[in-house]
Homo-oligomer: 476 residues x 2
Amino acid sequence: MADKKVEAITSMEEDFAQWYTDVVIKSDLIGYTSVKGFMVLKPAGYAMWELIQHQLDSRFKQTGVENVYLPLLIPEGLLQKEKDHVEGFAPEVAWVTHGGLNELQERLCVRPTSETLFCDFYQKDITSYRDLPKVYNQWCSVVRWEKETRPFLRSREFLWQEGHTAHATAEEAEERTIQMLNVYADFCEEVLAVPVIKGQKSEKEKFAGAVATYTIEALMHDGKALQSGTSHNFGDGFARAFGVQYTDKENKLQYVHQTSWGVTTRLIGAIIMVHGDDNGLVLPPRVAPTQVMVVPIQQKKAGVLEAADAIAASLEKTVRIKVDKTDKSPGFKFAEQEMRGIPIRLEIGPRDVEAGQVICVRRDTGEKTTLSINELETAIPQLLETIQKDMLEKARAHRDAHTYVAKTWDEFTDTVENRPGFIKAMWCGETACEEKIKELTGATTRCMPFEQETLAETCVCCGKPAKKMVYFGRAY
Amino acid sequence: MADKKVEAITSMEEDFAQWYTDVVIKSDLIGYTSVKGFMVLKPAGYAMWELIQHQLDSRFKQTGVENVYLPLLIPEGLLQKEKDHVEGFAPEVAWVTHGGLNELQERLCVRPTSETLFCDFYQKDITSYRDLPKVYNQWCSVVRWEKETRPFLRSREFLWQEGHTAHATAEEAEERTIQMLNVYADFCEEVLAVPVIKGQKSEKEKFAGAVATYTIEALMHDGKALQSGTSHNFGDGFARAFGVQYTDKENKLQYVHQTSWGVTTRLIGAIIMVHGDDNGLVLPPRVAPTQVMVVPIQQKKAGVLEAADAIAASLEKTVRIKVDKTDKSPGFKFAEQEMRGIPIRLEIGPRDVEAGQVICVRRDTGEKTTLSINELETAIPQLLETIQKDMLEKARAHRDAHTYVAKTWDEFTDTVENRPGFIKAMWCGETACEEKIKELTGATTRCMPFEQETLAETCVCCGKPAKKMVYFGRAY
């Protein structure tokens, strides 16, 4: 009873995938319609995306990013201009063939990503070095015709932001690529309390059309990796395919150098799978739509609701706070708010009113303390900061405790089978080894981390001289 | 030279349509790609949409609205469930027929509006009176396959918000319909400085599937009307078509009553056409991405740039302010900022620095004053408020001066031909008269205003007893 007050959800240990599905449904993050493979972001889920969007957008703008909006539909001819790109995306796009009652002369795909459109736009919009750099971003949805879908992790439509930049030089483009990866990494740690590994994708795993793809990789509670954001350097490949040129100061025509970078609603999946527990969601305060829920006990008794409202009124300028006045039982309310991951619960009954105090319960640790009503205005914002910090540290400790080193093939296979988590291992750099490892173990190269170590001299797979240390893992 | 400092734009008197096109292009609001009928919202245009979105969203939330996100694509079968609705929209939707490499079993349309999806969702999500009301909204883009397109006014894709609500009773639904129309009207007046007429659409002009459609109608500088926002009461028509039912307190099954309401990027068109002049855009401060531009004069002289930066630093907490440090001439900068509609320009040169003053120029009136640098922190926010208020009053005066009364058919036709604007006239309520008036004069019924007057006893068209006073006008 104590730990399972609401309709039971599957425990994480028993079946992590089912636990995940139970949580997203029972915490009311998503819903369904008759559109197969698509999901509804319900108020609790969308409010998290709004908090992500506002905080990330303000970090973008501090680096000079400007928002724009480009068309939803892309003519087939545009998609085909860059060879690697079309091969990567054509198999998974949705095609519009009719507009109104007429068949279109050229079919249009629903954007799976907008590199081609930005190139087409930049080709018209950029003429001189004075027009550079362009550091544009858009918030929108994209469609990819996935066969298997899972809420937030893989669905036929998802919300994201896609930044697309154009620069005068290769150096500037590389600098922006890394800068945005750092923005993502800092955001994940500081706002989502999700620690990430920063690194470069292998040739095999890089984005269709990119010279280099950088990634942030997070470790979920079950030891699987989640690619949580990527930043791509395109060099001048797209510019050459689309003729995006500018005249430099010497009046010579040059190709621009481009980047793109994006994160998606998948980040909500990361929050769930990094912080959640057997009672449901556990939300870091900075992405919690409701940070504090006041639960009146014996709320019909004189003074209780008034006291609850007064607490909410005194905190509402600094904290997202609500009072649960529904006619459900306190026990049910507790369980429901735990399921929804609300960081702090304040309980107040007739005796508390008399004593001028509340019971304060942390969602992340379950810790209960008694606080004087007078001190709430300073104590609650501080406690939210503490929870935010503690959740990051807890996630980091879990990640570190589930990061293993494999120097030999035996160690590698043993770890993959028995200890879910990241595996650091040396790699010769050959795609053949990468593919063999994936085929034999299901683990993929997550990234070549920026912070390299020399664990051994030889590749964990083929025994030839090693070139890079790689994070491997089974991934979502 | 004085009034035409930048590359000339067509004057409003000469050709209003061309003036409009010149302004949206030369003030950098929009751009184009190779996707026919679609436009790019460039940073200056998108920033206006962001300001609209943030301020409107916060007004929505004050009335209890929650944001959600529903799928982009709608199965044909869903669209067809409500007969009037499918007839209204089927001719103008884009159809997805292929997902990835396969043809779909059922084609999907790109949402032209989401009533059908919300019904499908509510049918699954609502079971009891405890689930009501649902007051949901989404910010997204929609696609309608228009033949003729004009930036912001009519394009194949536009950004908007669509609110969709479900209520236990007819009264509650009607109340919400009117409430949201009032939110729109207040927003247009207080934020966009665009006065509007509130009223009900005729049977002929109402939304496909609605019981009643309410509208806000604004008058553009050229005397044409622009429908600027609508709010629809659906009664239980959609609920019956989609089976959206709840059990009431007596445990009886009841149909919900629904509403929907929306405004679009068309509002940006209204801002341009209500406030603009022959020098370009004139932006109301509350939707101006940059509210104040500081222009250093002889900026290479010692102390000038420092003084400009100090002014910006002292104001940036309360005002959206920038310093134009480009190497363009002051005259060119002035003209460029006028084109972009920036409400206030502050000029500061070496002598001003010495005197501790700036020249302050209002975009809306051209008025120049000299202000002490010390008083800017109070004077500039006040002046922005004054400009906001004056722009609304000016627009209201223009609207009132171009609103005419026609009691007879001769007066009506004479006014339509010679005095562009709103025409108030009496109407019998018959669609036949409405259609005849449109055919003969090009004027349509804009709305039956909430504030009714009795101008005459008989219909301006047929002479039969009049039922309603109507605003007529030629419209965008």
